[in-house]
């Protein structure tokens, strides 16, 4: 079986497992991020990873993963709060806070010319993932599934009309905050393997492609997860054979799918 020869290496096996967890997770989350027009929000969250690490370094925290996750959760809740109160448009608010946070992170981490130590997080490296870290990914996947089963309807209700949701006793603030925290957790847990530069592409592209050709929520979810897993697995295999980084290979495939679905959707008037 020459086709599967790459599976003989442990690091490829682990990477494969990780992709099998991350991609359906991203496909799922992406549906709501795209629907709620939160692409910029999740992008800002990705960038805040640097600041989280920097904050950890400043306070002498040993495990910067922890400071990264905590910072991202706080950052997400803060963004939610501020954009619901400030009169300026949401993307302006996000842009202001995102720029400030990434500048702060870069400033701290580059002090003394040490930034190259952290540059791996920009691109990410899925081949270096360990079994324990795969377990974390599986855990967050499980949490997301549970949230989706019990919370998705409410989240959709809130995003269509907040007052209407309120008339059905659904709390908009709760659902929005929960979703923001979940997005923050997912981005942070996977950012080391995917990289800051392209994590958002993986969140947005499969859902955006699915949207091109879907009419109902069932089709939307089905295609989003399908495209995500397909480009993830194929991207990993291609990256092994062509010897390029896995993340970019996956994103290029996902982009191709987007263009194809766009044309297909146009042609069939969807």
């Amino acid at each position: 079986m020459k086709m599967f020869s790459w599976l003989q290496y442990d690091f490829m096996k682990y990477a494969f497992l990780a992709v099998l967890i991350i991609t359906p997770l991203f496909g799922l989350m992406g549906t709501m991020i795209v629907n709620r027009k939160m692409a910029f929000f999740s992008d800002a969250l990705g960038h805040s990873a640097l600041t989280g690490i920097a904050v950890g370094v400043v306070f002498g925290v040993k495990n910067t993963n922890l400071s990264m996750v905590i910072f991202a959760v706080v950052f997400a809740l803060l963004l939610n709060q501020i954009s619901s109160r400030v009169a300026a448009s949401t993307d302006t608010v996000i842009s202001v806070f995102s720029s400030f946070s990434i500048a702060l992170g870069l400033a701290i981490l580059s002090k003394g010319g040490n930034f190259s130590r952290y540059s791996s997080i920009l691109v990410g490296d899925i081949l270096s993932i360990t079994p324990q870290e795969i377990l974390y990914l599986a855990l967050i996947f499980l949490i997301t599934l549970v949230f989706w089963l019990f919370g998705f309807n409410k989240l959709l209700a809130v995003s269509l009309n907040r007052t209407l949701a309120k008339s059905r006793h659904i709390s908009a603030a709760w659902m929005e905050n929960l979703f923001a925290v979940l997005t923050a957790l997912i981005v942070m847990v996977s950012i080391k393997w995917v990289g800051i530069l392209i994590i958002n592409a993986l969140l947005i592209l499969p859902a955006a492609s699915a949207r091109n050709i879907s009419e109902t929520m069932r089709e939307y979810h089905f295609f989003s997860i399908l495209f995500s897993v397909f480009s993830g697995v194929l991207g990993l295999v291609v990256s092994y054979h062509v010897n390029v980084a896995a993340g970019p290979a996956i994103v290029i495939l996902a982009s191709v799918i987007y263009f194809v679905t766009y044309v297909w959707g146009r042609k069939h008037n969807l």
Binding site: T31, N35, W148, L149, F150, F152, N153, K154, L156, A157, S159, L160, N161, R162, T163, L164, A165, K166, S167, R168, I170, A210, R211, N212, S214, E215, T216, M217, R218, E219, Y220, H221, L270
Partner: protein
């Protein structure tokens, strides 16, 4: 959905001393309303009079002072008030993959809409859509509906749960004159045949004159309430609608 029953006239909704303020600014104060089931109550007033705020306060979306009670008039027992709400518009873009089924099921059931379509819920929704002759829309995308179709779907959704009170924001865009007439006729039919009270925010005094049982003239507080005749001939009404008055008389 409830069976068609004549309104019993025995329930009433009492709003007492309702007030809403945002920081220093008082938006509504000392609103007192008495609403009977089977009546169509139109809320009118100039722009910025607090009409939409009143609806959001009754729904509990905005914090308010005062009380809202739902009473059985015979024995005075207080019951839980179920409210159906019809918004003016939805926050939905072109190409959004949300079908009419998805939307209504999202608000009214816990069966995740991204999984299998539930036959039971589907039938229940279908039944409600039928009342407004909208059952053929079940599998259409919400963003592709016309203004009138969307209005009928939203109405079906609002009465799915047999509410005691129906709150409506009159549609302003995407509906032509014919559609408006149909909208008011539908509301009228609803309050005649189902056991519910209707509070409707209206911008069109001509329709109010023809269809409303009670009129509430609002400007921060209730300036005047009563029958159409009482309110339309009042001093307060003349002051608020000075400019528009000549149009109505015709």
């Amino acid at each position: 959905m409830q069976k068609i029953i004549k309104p019993c006239g025995l329930h009433c909704i009492k709003v007492k001393h309702l007030g809403v303020s945002l920081g220093q600014q008082i938006i509504l104060e000392d609103i007192n309303l008495h609403i009977h089931c089977g009546s169509l109550n139109a809320v009118i007033g100039r722009n910025g009079a607090g009409k939409s705020t009143l609806i959001r306060a009754i729904l509990g979306e905005m914090e308010h002072t005062g009380t809202i009670e739902f009473k059985d008039r015979e024995n005075g027992k207080i019951q839980k008030l179920k409210i159906g709400y019809v918004p003016q518009a939805l926050n939905i873009e072109k190409q959004t993959p949300v079908s009419v089924y998805d939307m209504i099921a999202a608000y009214h059931s816990n069966a995740p809409v991204f999984l299998r379509k539930s036959r039971k819920i589907s039938e229940k929704i279908q039944e409600c859509l039928k009342i407004f002759e909208a059952d053929y829309l079940l599998d259409q995308q919400v963003c592709n509906l016309s203004g009138g179709e969307l209005q009928r779907v939203l109405l079906s959704m609002a009465i799915l749960d047999s509410p005691n009170l129906l709150l409506l924001d009159e549609p302003v865009s995407g509906i032509d004159q014919n559609g408006m007439e149909l909208f008011y006729q539908t509301i009228y039919r609803l309050k005649e045949n189902y056991d519910l009270a209707v509070i409707l925010i209206s911008h069109d005094l001509e329709y109010v004159r023809r269809y409303a049982d009670q009129v509430i003239l609002l400007d921060k507080t209730v300036l005047r309430q009563g029958s159409v005749k009482e309110v339309f001939q009042s001093q307060e009404f003349a002051e608020v609608f000075q400019a528009e008055r000549s149009k109505i008389k015709k």
